[in-house]
Amino acid sequence: MTDPLFRPEYVGSEGTEATEFVKERPQLTGTPPAPEDAAKSTIKELAKDYFPKEPKPIGAGDLRIESKTYFNDKPRYDPIRARILPDEEDDTSERTA
């Protein structure tokens, strides 16, 4: 009985996919760097991304957390005072009198 998970089309035979892949690889020339130097250069490259010499300009998005501090208000009194004006009717009656 055939195993349903066994898919023979993905199994390369010698001289087909594997050989072609090797042919496409670039040929290395010169002396390869020592493993330590290679690691250092990689770290340097990575560090450039994370620690740029020039500071990044601050965008609106970067200010979001800082802007949370703006809310400094507290409940406060805000009264209204107003003088009552005499009614128009009373005013008329006074004038009539």
Partner: protein, 204 residues
Amino acid sequence: MIRACDVCMEDVNGRVAQGDIYKDIHFIEDVSQDHGVIEVKRILFPYVVVLTQDCDLQQDFGVRWPNPERMPKDQDKRLLSVLVAPLYNAEHFFAGTHLSELRSDGKPIAMQKIKRSGTKGETIESNDFPRYHFLKFADDVQLVDLVVDFKHYFSVNVEYLKRVRPTNYKCKIAELFRENLCLRFGNFLARIGLPDAVEAPSTT
């Protein structure tokens, strides 16, 4: 413990809804008249959250601003006011200074100072203290950590809120977090006040 509070900025048909956060809302403390001068004592709260049931607010909206095609038969569902609770800056709250600009007997109102990293502070931040509700917003919401004190709820006029909505509406607490807030508020109001412990009378 970080408690995210999801907020959606969408408006719900322009109506006042449960979980809405408004800024600069007046609470009318007293109205008096003396020698022809009327004085309205108002307290301006920087932020408040709406606590009234959303279905009640929806029905009230339908009565006050009805759809011409579906006019209500009566005003049975009309509300008199909307229940809100002030939101205090957590930093002020833990320092006990959140009401320092209000006065009692001529002195600034001093509230209890609570150590944030202490047991009580941590209990409040994890929303395990019945009187308070702690809200921590995501970074994209320009609101600092806020605390609701359920003892300080008050009511405001529905039409007042509707009128200031275009300018004072800040955001809306997402449904799940809103339900959590309102359920905790309901539980706080429904608590049973028990007398202080007294010594049992001696039987001997």
